[in-house]
């Protein structure tokens, strides 16, 4: 598997291959079909950053532009899923959940339970998240915490091209509603990705790096930061184990707990705001279930309790840095 493609290409390829395999898979969203009704080139766009580009011509009629009516079309995706389609709806920026959240959390997420198990809602909602684009407070949020809180949803946060493809294919084939979140700063990341179809299962964390001193659980793009930090820490004699949960719901609690049982120290790195976050979620998990193994306080490294600032000078301070992870790991190692 020597072929390298980007995270963005991996997502496009997963959509393309799944659409070819299963006629029930459809893609809908704003400009995903390139701009319906416009007089110029067809498929001019492919969503705002071009992720779906090319699908329009390959899968006629199944790549569908929408008006700017997120409740309308996300709900339509949910409804279509109820009768056996496998819609992939693009929400562009996850920050826009506020105009369509009801259809996700009160409708899609709850149907199966409320209806006594008599519904399946295999819808996928793709959205971009994360800071780093100088896109300011309404286009830079993480918000996976909010989805993770909601029973009935599954939440996927791939950190690399391989996982992006395999997890997206799994998302489409999965019979529950899935929120698939793509960090915009990862779109250009390259990695080895098999050409064939494959799935990465939900609820199975990746142990990205093994080590005995400190466990670092990192979400999405933060896996990169953790790797930078681990390389640095290696030089200082601190061996990090890095765990990428890949899905925040379901969460692979076993892999996390086993690692902390080995290392006795935990850092959680989560780009989102700190309160009621994945960082606290995992910290709480470990404080309850691996307490006896803990040799030091659990450290949460997150973005601050503030909106995401615009200016690059502030945004760089906002995003959790490798340096912060390094400092935390060292202090944990030295903790007595």
């Amino acid at each position: 598997m020597a072929r390298k493609i980007t995270y963005q290409q991996a997502i496009n390829e997963a959509l393309d291959q799944e659409m070819s395999r299963d006629q029930n898979v459809i893609v809908m969203g704003e400009d995903v079909a390139g701009g319906e009704g416009s007089p110029g080139e067809q498929d001019a766009w492919g969503g705002v950053l071009g992720v779906t580009r090319g699908l329009y011509h390959k899968h006629p009629g199944r790549v569908i532009d929408t008006p700017i009516s997120e409740s309308g079309y996300v709900g339509a995706a949910v409804g279509a899923a109820c009768c056996g389609m496998r819609p992939v709806a693009e929400l562009m920026f996850v920050d826009f959940l506020g105009v369509c959240f009801d259809q996700i959390f009160n409708q899609a997420a709850k149907f199966r339970y409320m209806f006594g198990g008599k519904a399946e809602t295999p819808v996928v909602i793709r959205a971009m998240y994360g800071a780093g684009f100088r896109a300011a407070a309404q286009h830079s949020q993480c918000l996976y915490n909010i989805f993770t809180h909601i029973p009935g949803l599954k939440v996927v946060v791939p950190s690399n091209p391989y996982d992006a493809k395999g997890l997206l294919i799994q998302s489409i084939r999965d019979n529950d509603p899935v929120i698939f979140l793509e960090h915009k700063a990862l779109y250009t990341m390259e990695g080895e990705v098999p050409e064939e179809l494959y799935t990465v299962p939900f609820g199975e964390a990746a142990v990205v790096r093994e080590g005995n001193d400190v466990t670092i659980v990192a979400i999405g793009r933060m896996v990169q930061k953790a790797q930078e930090a681990a390389a640095e820490l290696q030089k200082a004699g601190v061996q990090c184990e890095i765990i990428d949960p890949r899905t925040t719901s379901p969460l692979d609690t076993d892999t996390i707990l086993e690692s902390v049982e080995k290392t006795g120290r935990l850092i959680v790195v989560d780009e989102s705001h700190p309160r009621c976050s994945m960082a606290s979620d995992i910290a709480g998990l470990v404080a309850e279930n691996a307490f006896a193994s803990l040799k030091a306080p659990i450290r949460q490294i997150t973005g601050p309790h503030s909106p995401v600032p615009f200016s690059d000078s502030l945004e760089e301070l906002y995003i959790p840095s490798a340096a912060k992870i390094v400092a935390a790991a060292k202090s944990l190692k030295e903790y007595r």
Partner: protein, 324 residues
């Protein structure tokens, strides 16, 4: 032209309306005993709407309903016995006791669910209609919603979306004059809800919702157009609920005698009975037989519901996901 109603159709229509009425009257009585849990929003008085619409539909067509969903469910073919058990919170209920009155659904008969969220159904039917369209199937979808819901963003978005995608959707506005205690004269900024159709490039019509035949015709026309690829429509039916917003509501916001006058002069079952017996299409005996059968059915459903088991701890965490 909508299909002419034969004897069998008329019997079915009457049975459906009577079943809804009996179901709701019985709930009204039983609620007063304090035994029925939760919120119950009764549809009594509005039977001609659900029935007139659903008589044009098959099990492959979809409907989305509201918090006031019992009538839509029964008209679409959901089993009233299961519904009663559901409302009583029993494992034998349509949703195994997990949903209750506000969430009764049965996808096997195209019933997408009552909905606790006002306006929630609009987007959903765009999806079921889209599925039918993409698959080349002649199935339509109907979204029932109230005058209050007609001001919810989801309904507006759904109307535009259905039009833009040219979907086989009927937006069926049940204008009963009130959203909870608030008048539709206040909350809807235009004269008729149907006036909003033109904003979404679709035909709109307002009909008398006490008149089963008027609803049947108007909905039928819209449904036929949708089935034939003619796109969405907005159909407004003007009607009234006999009971409060939910059980317990004393309705002091209504004019004194308002409900009684409607019951006496406009009642949909009364009008239907008069018309079919006067025309000779059905006899009073036909209707009496149905009345008796329906009464027995509903009585039986209550007896059964009361004695059926409630769900237990083992059920608490099942069916959150297909797999997790």
């Amino acid at each position: 032209m909508t299909k002419k109603l034969e004897r069998e159709d008329l019997l079915k229509a009457y049975r459906t309306m009577r079943t809804i009425r009996e179901f709701e009257e019985r709930l009204h009585t039983d609620f007063a005993t304090g035994e029925i849990p939760g919120f119950v929003h009764l549809y009594a008085g509005e039977e001609a709407s659900a029935t007139g619409v659903c008589m044009n539909l098959t099990a492959e067509d979809h409907i989305a309903s509201t918090h006031r969903g019992h009538g839509h469910c029964i008209a679409k073919g959901v089993d009233p016995v299961g519904m009663m058990a559901e409302i009583w919170g029993r494992t034998t209920g349509t949703c195994k006791g997990k949903g209750g009155s506000m969430h009764i659904a049965d996808l096997s008969v195209g019933m997408l669910g009552a909905n606790g969220i006002v306006g929630g159904g609009g987007p959903l039917v765009c999806g079921t209609a889209l599925a039918a369209k993409l698959r080349g199937q002649p199935f339509v979808s109907v979204c029932f919603f109230g005058d209050g819901a007609s001001n919810q963003g989801t309904i507006f978005e759904a109307m535009n979306l259905a039009s833009v995608w040219n979907l086989p959707v009927i937006f069926l506005a049940e204008n009963n004059g009130y959203a909870e205690a608030t008048s539709s004269k206040f909350s809807v900024a235009c004269e008729n809800i149907a006036d909003r159709a033109s904003a979404f490039g679709m035909p709109g019509v307002t009909v008398d919702g006490f008149d089963f035949f008027a609803v049947y015709e108007a909905a039928g026309e819209a449904i036929e157009r949708a089935r034939n690829g003619g796109g969405p429509s907005l159909v407004e039916v003007k009607l009234s609920r006999y009971y409060g917003h939910f059980e317990g509501d004393q309705q002091t916001y209504r004019a004194p005698g308002e409900v009684q006058a409607l019951r006496d002069n406009k009642d949909c079952l009364m009008q239907f009975a008069r018309r079919v017996t006067q025309s000779g299409a059905l006899t009073q005996a036909d209707l009496d037989t149905i009345d008796a059968e329906v009464k027995a059915l509903i009585d039986g459903s209550v007896v059964k519901a009361k004695s059926d088991p409630k769900p237990s701890e083992a059920d608490l965490l099942t069916d959150v996901y297909v797999s997790y």
